[in-house]
Symmetry: C2
Subunit: 202 residues, 2 copies
């Protein structure tokens, strides 16, 4: 990876690693990166995630831990995301993946049964490093919790989230391409891609 | 704290710190310790907790982090606990405190609405160190999720948990004294107290 590292030091990063165990997230990132002529490789590594209500803290510490314990000698990033439902005080938030694995979309719909305020947002935080410096990007999408499970695409809570700026379909009713035009994760990753292809040097 | 440290090295620990921000937990621990002629002091320190489905991993890493970052020069312990509801695949588990802060007892009762299998358990893990070695104790109590919120004592999910070996009252309908005869935390802390007052040397 000698050349890659040199590229990073010169601020001309063309290839990065995405430390994630989630193939859906990786696919979304790959598609955004390709728009910018950047390539991304999946780094399937065990990450440490702290308990916190701040996605930024979780992402920063996860990144710092990987930098210290297992730095790959190549620019890389981590991403943390969550669904924040207003009527549930932000639940499930940073613990969305755990909550999904335990009570699923049906559990969240049950909690929202009879609740009129359906407002929610998906938030994504990307933390990137060239091995020395760290930069963090955030993406958000506002929307609503649906009244039933809809669609087959995506993952997690996608079938119960209807983005505000869409055409009324849930995230799981959108193809990856369509979801990438709207999603929190695409927004955060696009910020990273734009930053990487700008003239800024870290 | 010179004498205390000496005591620890000799295996005759009489005074320990409990690193917790939770005054209810501290009160429960204090009462158990006093039965053994041990004194405990609250150490109100910021702890690092990782995201994990294993309470033991959370407690061990929390302890290790305090040992490295802020060791007080005195034997101390941390405790992590969770409510594991069978019909919800173990939810809320290690994230009980977060889930309680967001959806409360009412949220969990809503998730359990119409669910016949009410089985649940509270689990507590205590990780103790004399500054060098680490030992872990576990306490469990089986019971049921009630159909409504009951009682004013305790904290967290106590008002919706009915211990199997009790008289039908919820944890929140028991005084600290009564709860300490049954509770997961009292069991784990009692194991620690017994171990400290036995002849074992670490």
């Amino acid at each position: 990876m000698g050349n890659r590292k040199e590229g990073a030091l010169l601020g001309k990063v063309r290839h990065v690693l995405f430390a994630t165990g989630n193939r859906h997230k990786f696919q979304e990132a790959e598609m955004v990166f390709s728009e910018y002529g950047l390539s991304v490789e999946r780094w399937d590594v065990k990450r440490l995630e702290i308990q916190s209500e701040s996605l930024e803290d979780i992402a920063r510490i996860s990144l710092a831990w990987l930098m210290r314990e297992a730095h790959p000698g190549c620019p890389f990033f981590v991403e943390d995301a969550g669904l924040f439902i207003e009527a549930l005080n932000g639940f499930p938030g940073p613990y969305s993946s755990y909550v999904f694995s335990k009570i699923g979309n049906k559990g969240v719909l049950k909690l929202m049964d009879g609740v009129k305020d359906r407002k929610a947002k998906f938030v994504s935080v990307v933390a990137f490093t060239n091995g020395e410096n760290v930069i963090v990007f955030k993406g958000e999408v506002s929307g609503f919790i649906s009244y039933n499970v809809r669609g087959e695409y995506g993952f997690g809570f996608d079938p119960i989230f209807i983005p505000e700026d869409g055409d009324g379909r849930s995230f799981a009713e959108l193809s990856v391409n369509e979801k990438n035009k709207l999603s929190h994760r695409a927004k955060a990753i696009r910020k990273l891609a734009e930053w990487l292809t700008s003239s800024k040097i870290i």
